[in-house]
Symmetry: C2
Subunit: 206 residues, 2 copies
């Protein structure tokens, strides 16, 4: 059935959980997924292409987009803005392609508000002990800093309630395969496809 | 996480769609699934074992089970009763195993009423034209009979609205793989597992 629209999937989770690695492995296996292209105010680096790596914009243009609600989420980072343009996401979905967004928990909450029909996947650490060890082993952070980062992670995990799915990142291959199952299964959801099927039935002559 | 309960999956769809074939192929690939064992009042045949093929019961016992709401669905067929015992389903789910029920649309509607927490999967014919051809080619049915059976199939397809998922049986392997994705993805649903994960977090010392 070809009329079907794409689905926006949002992959998020606490920092340190391995979102980027999982997302890359997923894209290697599923070339049909479209990665959401962000707008940014930072200058392009050598080799980066406008409309491929980012949509490069002037600060005033991005501020205007924010003001007019044209970004489904945005953040400021070291003086530059980064955001996800609604128009690009919607156009890609209209073409029947799924869009995949890998994003921090705070950004995911903005998407939830501006694009509630998205499918929200929370990547969960294999165990909290391991997340603790990873944070401790990352470097020469003081005990207080480690404690703060863990409290932060706990808070982020509390936001799990806003998500549709929870996937444990016990092993990258397992996590990717579970996410692929979620993608397939979401396309089988009755409320997405029933109307097309019913149309198909109606056209059969008795 | 080991506290997780199993899930009851109900596979249904119009007659002629290939439910039995898909179910068998699914069980060949996933030996962890428990097939729901029915009670029946018909006498056991050679080689059939009580508690394996069926729970063989006297008619009065089954009528009593129906009266006391101990069957999540039942039907009478050529003078014998067949039904799905709630106790067996619930006990298997408690053990953490998924239960799979392959059933006619009418029976599925009864399950929906008595066990709404089940996951309902509707198997859809690759095309209505093909379902029509299959019914016509089945034998020497008159034009009127074919028309009636098609009207019946259309009515059954209208019940699609009560289902969670629609899977097209375009190819057995594809259909089985979609159903397996649904099984995996349902186990990742946040509302099923979030509380266990939160418990796991709570136990980590900062």
């Amino acid at each position: 059935m070809k009329d079907e629209k794409g689905i926006l999937f949002i992959l998020s989770g606490p920092s340190g959980v391995g979102k980027g690695t999982v997302r890359k492995a997923l894209f290697d296996q599923d070339p049909d997924l479209a990665y959401s292209i962000s707008v940014t105010t930072r200058p392009s680096r050598e080799g980066e292409k406008d409309g491929v790596d980012y949509f490069f914009k002037a600060k005033e243009d991005v501020l205007k987009m924010i003001e007019q609600g044209e970004l489904i989420e945005y953040a400021e980072y070291v003086g530059n803005y980064y955001g996800t343009p609604k128009a690009y996401v919607e156009q890609t979905l209209e073409e029947g392609r799924d869009v995949f967004l890998e994003i921090e928990v705070q950004g995911a909450m903005q998407v939830k508000e501006n694009f509630p029909e998205g499918v929200f996947i929370f990547l969960f650490p294999p165990s909290l002990e391991e997340l603790k060890n990873r944070i401790i082993n990352r470097g020469t952070e003081t005990e207080d800093l480690v404690r703060n980062r863990l409290l932060e992670a706990k808070k982020e995990i509390d936001m799990m309630d806003a998500y549709d799915y929870v996937v444990v990142n016990d092993d990258i291959e397992n996590a990717v395969s579970r996410i692929e199952s979620i993608v397939i299964s979401e396309h089988c959801k009755r409320e997405r496809i029933a109307s097309q099927y019913k149309k198909a039935i109606g056209s059969v002559e008795l």
